[in-house]
C-alpha cells in the first residue's frame, strides 16, 4: 500500500503541498482531481523524490520512500508516467524500454509482456522516441514505466491531448494493471475521463486535502463533482 502521511513539499521557499495524506491500496485506482496549480503534479514528483519533502513521509508497504535517494524510489517498485511523457528523446523505443527494465531489474520476458499490452510499439522498436506520434509516445511512456514491474503506478494526465481511440487503449491498460494488483494513482483534469475507471476520487484544493469520494457516488451525482472542480 502506498501511503502519504501529512506531506508538505514545494520549490525553494514556496510550499505547494500542505499536510496532504492519501493512501492507495493494491489493485485500487485512486484518481486525484484538482484545478490547475492545486499541486497534483508536485504531489507525484514528491512521491518520486524529485521534489524534497518539507514534512511528512511517503511509505510503500514497509519501506519509507522519502528516506531513499530518488534513484532508489523506482527500484522500490514505483513506476512513473510524467505529464508531457518526457521520453528519452534521443534513444530508440527499445532503449527507452531497456531503461525501464534496468530500473526494475527485469529481463526480456517482462518486455514481451509489456509489448503484448502495446503491440503497436513492436513495429517501432528501432525508431527514435521523438519520431513517434503523440499517442505512440504516450504508449511508450506507459510501457517504459510498466517495464520495471511496478507495485505502484503514478500516472500524470496520461490521456492529455490524445484522440478517443488512444484514450480507450490507455484506459484498458490501466484497468488491466489494476486487475494484476498494481496500485494506481491517476492525476487528471477531466473528471469524465476518469470516472469510468476510478475506484475513489480524491480532491486536492490549493495544496491541501479535499474530500475523498467513492467514484460510484460521483458517477451518480455529477453536480457534486462539478461543485468541487468549480466548473
Amino acid at each position: 500500500m502506498l501511503r502519504l502521511d501529512k506531506i508538505g513539499a514545494g520549490y525553494g521557499h514556496a510550499q505547494v503541498l500542505h499536510e496532504v495524506s492519501l493512501q492507495v491500496s493494491p489493485g485500487e485506482i485512486l484518481c486525484l482531481l484538482g484545478r490547475n496549480g492545486a499541486g497534483k503534479t508536485t504531489l507525484m514528483r514528491a512521491v518520486m523524490g524529485l521534489v524534497p519533502l518539507m514534512s511528512g513521509a511517503v511509505q510503500l508497504d514497509n519501506v519509507t520512500l522519502s528516506d531513499l535517494p530518488p534513484h532508489d524510489v523506482p527500484r522500490a517498485g514505483v513506476g512513473y508516467v510524467p505529464q508531457g511523457r518526457r521520453l528519452f528523446s534521443g534513444l530508440s523505443v527499445a532503449q527507452n524500454l531497456e531503461i525501464g527494465l534496468m530500473a526494475g531489474g527485469q529481463g526480456m520476458a517482462m518486455r514481451e509482456e509489456v509489448l503484448d499490452l502495446f503491440p503497436r510499439l513492436r513495429d517501432r522498436m528501432g525508431q527514435a522516441a521523438q519520431t513517434l506520434s503523440g499517442g505512440e509516445q504516450q504508449m511508450l511512456a506507459m510501457a517504459r514505466a510498466l517495464c520495471l514491474a511496478p507495485r505502484v503506478l503514478l500516472l500524470d494526465e496520461p490521456t492529455e491531448g490524445l484522440q478517443p481511440s488512444m484514450i480507450d487503449a490507455i484506459r484498458e491498460v490501466i484497468t488491466a494493471m489494476c486487475a494484476r494488483g498494481v496500485a494506481v494513482l491517476l492525476v487528471e483534469q477531466r473528471l469524465h475521463a476518469v470516472l469510468s475507471v476510478a475506484d475513489r476520487v480524491a480532491f486536492l484544493e490549493d495544496g491541501r486535502n479535499g474530500p475523498v469520494i467513492p467514484a460510484e457516488t460521483l458517477r451518480a451525482d455529477r453536480a457534486l463533482a462539478d461543485r468541487y472542480l468549480g466548473v
Binding site: 518520486m48 523524490g49 524529485l50 535517494p69 530518488p70 534513484h71 532508489d72 524510489v73 523506482p74 527500484r75 512513473y80 510524467p82 518526457r86 521520453l87 528519452f88 528523446s89 534521443g90 534513444l91 532503449q95 531497456e98 531503461i99 525501464g100 534496468m102 530500473a103 526494475g104 517504459r144 520495471l148
Partner: protein
C-alpha cells in the same frame, strides 16, 4: 620543392593536431553534453596527463617503450580518478549549477596549475617516443620522361606521428562503441536527455556524472600522453588545448560527439596547414573567426540541436 609536397607535409602535421584535438575535445563535449558543465579546468587535466607521463616514463626507466606504455595506461587512470574526486567534492556540492560550476572549474584550473608548478617546476621536459623511425614520403612529378616518383628532401614524417593518428582513431571508435553499444553509454545518453527522468528510472545520476567527468578528463590526459613525445610537458601547456577544444565543441555542436570529431578534423587540419604556410597565430585567429561565424549564423553548431 613545389607547393604540393609542402601541402602534404602540412596536412600530416595537421592530422596529428586534429587527432589529439579530437580526443581532448570529445572529453570536453562529453562533460558538457551529459552534465551541462562547462569545464574550464579541462586543459589542466590535459597538462596533468603530460606531466604524469613524464614522471611515470622517467620512473620506469629501461627502453622508452616501457615507460611510455606505463604512462599511456596509468596517467589517464590517475587523472580520471582525480577528476572524479573533484566532481564528488566540488561540483556535486554545487548541485551542478551551470554558472557556479564555471567559477569552480576556474578555481580548479589555478589549483592544478600552481600545484604542478610547485611540484614539477617551470621547465619543459620531453618524454622519449617508444619508436620514432623517420619515414620519407614520395612525390610524383611530371618530367621529360613522363610521371616520375621522387623523394623530395624534407618531405617526411615519423612512424610515431602516424601511430598517434592511428591510436586516436582507435580510441575514438572505442568511445563511440561505449556510448552506442554499452549499458554505461545508454545511461549516459538517458541522463543527457533528461536528468530528472533518469532519476525517476533508477539511474544514479550523481554516479553517472562522476564517471563522465572522470572519462572526459581521462580522454584529455590520454591525448596529452600521446602528444608529449612531440611537444614537451610544461605546466602552462593546458591553455591551447582548452581554447581549441572550446572552438571545436562550439563549431561541432555542444554535446554532439560526431560534430566534435568533424570540427576537430577541420580545425586541426586548418591549424596545421595555416601554421606551416603562414603562422600559428593566424591559424588561431581564423579558428576564432570561424567560431564567431558559427555563433552568428548557426548558434547550435554544425551537428547541435536547436534549443526548443
Amino acid at each position: 620543392m613545389d607547393l604540393g609536397p609542402y601541402l602534404v607535409l602540412a596536412t600530416l602535421e595537421g592530422a596529428v593536431t586534429a587527432a589529439v584535438l579530437a580526443l581532448t575535445a570529445v572529453g570536453l563535449s562529453l562533460v558538457f553534453g551529459v552534465m551541462r558543465v562547462v569545464n574550464i579546468a579541462h586543459g589542466e587535466f590535459f597538462m596533468l596527463g603530460a606531466v604524469l607521463a613524464w614522471w611515470i616514463a622517467t620512473s620506469v626507466g629501461g627502453h622508452p617503450a616501457f615507460g611510455f606504455g606505463a604512462a599511456l595506461i596509468m596517467a589517464p587512470l590517475i587523472v580520471g580518478a582525480l577528476a572524479m574526486a573533484a566532481d564528488m567534492t566540488i561540483l556535486k556540492r554545487l548541485d551542478y549549477d551551470p554558472e557556479r560550476t564555471i567559477v569552480a572549474t576556474i578555481g580548479l584550473l589555478y589549483i592544478i596549475q600552481q600545484l604542478t608548478l610547485m611540484g614539477y617546476g617551470p621547465e619543459a621536459r620531453p618524454v622519449e617516443a617508444p619508436f620514432n623511425t623517420r619515414l620519407a614520403i614520395p612525390w610524383f612529378e611530371h618530367g621529360l620522361e613522363g610521371w616520375q616518383m621522387i623523394w623530395p628532401w624534407g618531405l617526411g614524417t615519423t612512424s610515431y606521428k602516424l601511430a598517434v593518428i592511428g591510436a586516436a582513431v582507435v580510441i575514438l571508435c572505442g568511445v563511440w562503441a561505449v556510448m552506442a553499444r554499452t549499458r554505461l553509454g545508454l545511461v549516459m545518453r538517458a541522463t543527457q536527455a533528461d536528468r530528472e527522468m533518469a532519476l525517476a528510472f533508477g539511474i544514479p545520476v550523481e554516479r553517472v556524472y562522476a564517471i563522465t567527468f572522470g572519462l572526459g578528463a581521462g580522454l584529455a590526459a590520454l591525448a596529452a600522453v600521446l602528444i608529449v613525445p612531440i611537444q614537451q610537458a610544461h605546466y602552462l601547456m593546458g591553455a591551447d588545448p582548452l581554447l581549441l577544444s572550446f572552438i571545436v565543441v562550439i563549431i561541432g555542436g555542444l554535446g554532439s560527439l560526431p560534430g566534435t570529431v568533424l570540427a576537430a578534423v577541420l580545425i586541426g587540419l586548418s591549424d596545421g596547414i595555416i601554421s606551416v604556410f603562414f603562422s600559428p597565430t593566424l591559424a588561431k585567429i581564423i579558428a576564432t573567426l570561424l567560431v564567431a561565424l558559427v555563433l552568428v549564423f548557426r548558434p547550435q553548431g554544425l551537428f547541435g540541436k536547436r534549443a526548443a
